[in-house]
Symmetry: D4
Subunit: 147 residues, 8 copies
């Protein structure tokens, strides 16, 4: 079994790379995917189909183009990691968690202790809460082991 892992949420720190690197170093049987994490490219995803004056529709068009990718990846992953950082609204991360919960896809949240309370519903529907990429790697190692 190769575990397929979707990495959702925060794009301003290198948590994705830390997890991917550590799993590779340990030769874990895990593959990774995520949304396009280049912020500007992501915001401009809909511009490929023509410019928009109205900022709501520009966002709308881009979000839908991004959804082509994320919907496909989330629906086919085995496990999702949902990361909440200390900045921004990050509603898309909570949205992904809800999406996984409804599909029955197991997910692990990754966030600091400071935001336990506002994330209680998100954590309650997940299967583990980690506070560091290293912990996530430990869990993936355990889950992907020969048993």
């Amino acid at each position: 079994m190769t575990l397929s892992v979707y990495l959702s949420g925060e794009i301003h720190t290198d948590w994705r790379q830390q997890i991917i690197d550590a799993c590779q170093e340990q030769n874990l049987s895990v593959s990774f995917s995520s949304a396009v994490t280049d912020h500007q490219a992501s915001d401009a995803a809909g511009d490929m189909l023509g410019a928009e004056d109205n900022s709501f529709w520009r966002d709308h068009k881009s979000a839908k183009v991004n959804a082509i990718r994320t919907k496909t990846l989330i629906e086919s992953c085995d496990i999702a990691i949902i990361r909440f950082g200390d900045k921004y609204k990050q509603w898309n991360a909570a949205f992904d968690a809800g999406y996984c919960a409804a599909l029955g896809t197991p997910y692990i949240t990754l966030h600091d202790e400071a935001i336990i309370h506002p994330l209680k519903e998100v954590d309650a529907a997940g299967l583990a809460w980690a506070t560091s990429p290293a912990q996530v790697v430990e869990i993936l190692k355990y889950v992907a082991s020969q048993g």
Copy 2:
């Protein structure tokens, strides 16, 4: 057809009551449900099963008790209204939106123009964005009409 509508999100303003009252005044064939909106009762939902020292587990236990209710209501509603106010993280509202999206349940978001950008993924998977309870009522009136 009686439309069953789930009201998710912000609990600090009276948007729920405004929608319910206006629908009743107009005799719309709509019924409403929502999470327990008494903040303290909701946070203490798990305490009925014994106190917890650790705040993570207290939150966890309460969130799970609340999920018994919200999961049942969201899965049986026809339409959800997802409200984002101008305060707090409100990750539970975005979680509910993701849950609805995965189930294919239509939802309407209700929020100000100021937060269009961080809500673009949530809006993209919804079927309408309203900026006032009155607009939500207009939509419900249209949707529940005899046609």
Copy 3:
């Protein structure tokens, strides 16, 4: 059993009313629903949420508001009647047929012999092809009978 029947397609002739009236006269245990069939109201459904300059987005917004209603009704009906007239593109009717086919909801098409060939895929996934509202009524009477 009260059969719940969704009436999809053409809005420029009175085929819906003919079917509804005949079923009522014969006291059949059938209830009917459909999209909002007032053409102007339907095209303007999104305007309740604010005007749009761009005609694509006006259409988009209205189509999504209408989808809140049609999605709910189609997903809960027992049988759909899909009507194709002799004018206009009527892609929404074919879209509804495909939607029903994927859900496994039985549907009856209602159209003239002249358009058999372009409708062959739509007819192939349906369970009956009628050429008049009277025939549809006969089928509904048979299906809803005590047996």
Copy 4:
């Protein structure tokens, strides 16, 4: 991830080939499928099982044989491209769009500005509207990128 893309609709121009060629040139990790696009072969698909006098049943038989193929391919694709040209009824394309919508399969429509209005329901349930094969290729490139 190799994206599996189903190409639905118009068979009288070379839009399929344009998309396939451009994706190959750019080495995108995308595979393509579609209905049998040889018009005569498709219309005669049922003749392999014996000739029919009645044109309705000839069409019916052929459409069902074609459905063996298209149902299997649509249900297993990740993304569909739904193309509407400027001729013919093309109800099968709209049918495929409805089928994808019910399954939750993301689709991109490909059509001219002239037919925005009659396609508004089809576009509303899709995730992007492109006006040229080149735009579709750009989207596929973005969606299939390493992120």
Copy 5:
């Protein structure tokens, strides 16, 4: 709970009536449905949509009209009773059993000991095998009891 029971199979003896009468006498909370059991009416179901020369297509058309009814009833029943008599092929009864098995709908078979062997796959996927209508009634009484 009112159990909804679908009665499938043999139409040449009065087993349906025996079960219905006995359940009514005992005031069981059970409702019944079945295909149209008037043989001639059932074979002619498609004739309402125009006559057919070819007997295959006449049968096909009628079988599809009947499927509008049976599909709806089978998919909404709680329990099916599948009756095999000692005459005819009765492939439709076995078809209904397979349909129920795939849906996870519990069914009880009703047949003589003489045909145990050819029905072994059908019995294996069912939850009970009865040899008389009276036994079926006993089971329904037990299943619908207050417990």
Copy 6:
């Protein structure tokens, strides 16, 4: 909303009656169902279809007749209460918990502290652990409240 609650597990104490009585006293909008709880009747459920010499097949036949009832009730309930007492294997209760977990049906376990460890997988997939019928009633009251 009337909550439909399935009561699974131990049949040797009066925990069911305690919950039902307390909910009735408090006029909660809750309805209850359960397997046939008369031990002897349950073990003999298959005897209605003829006696068996072999005890494996007698048990098998009875268990399947009981499954007609329990499968229907579990699949239609909103919430299950899974009770583990201090005697017997009670594998059927754990089986019901796994069944609910796979369906996504929320359940509450009811058991003493002494058996936390062997029930950890069952508790982990549930939404609450209660130690007394009174606690279950409190939760049901909260969940079924007007909010």
Copy 7:
């Protein structure tokens, strides 16, 4: 795409081999599976788990062991071929057809003209009726073609 084809029904003629050989000769991208077709081995499948005195239970046990195989294969195939010969009851073939119909798996029936009438429900839910293995091969060739 390699089409996965399940061959159900009659085991007394070589129709399976004819189809498999012809597809291999033509290098079609098709793989085949079926139930164990050795009649005696199939009837004795349950004997591996101990002998039974009672012939009903012997059949039952064997049918269930066979179901481990057939259920897995039918649920994972793309297309089923359902063959009815001129002998025996063949209820298992009709059962498989009903199973496929409920799953939405396309199937082709293979039978003589003589049994059109008793197979009308089975044919109505299928996508093609062939009268010879050669016709089945032609259809598979068409369906598996590059298009």
Copy 8:
């Protein structure tokens, strides 16, 4: 076809290894998976995310981490073997059986005659009952054969 087999239940005897070894010796096309079977590692699975004082929460956290693995494996297996030994509560094995039953995944139970009665519900929903690893291997050999 490579059958994917999940081995659930008892971890104190070498039944898993016996089955795996015998299948390998006979070159069966079968792959195996199971929960982490190192008792201590399994109980400590949650400790990777921080220690817990409260034994309920320690168990809970570990059970959830284990569920990431078991949920993924059970949902993707073709067949499960559910083993009950003569010691301990083994509620997790019965839980897995219920989970499989709800998913429609075929399972084989493996247990002694002494515990037939308390396992009757679990056996009734399974497709075979074996009393030795050798019997399980025989069944797997039969199921995975070329037919």
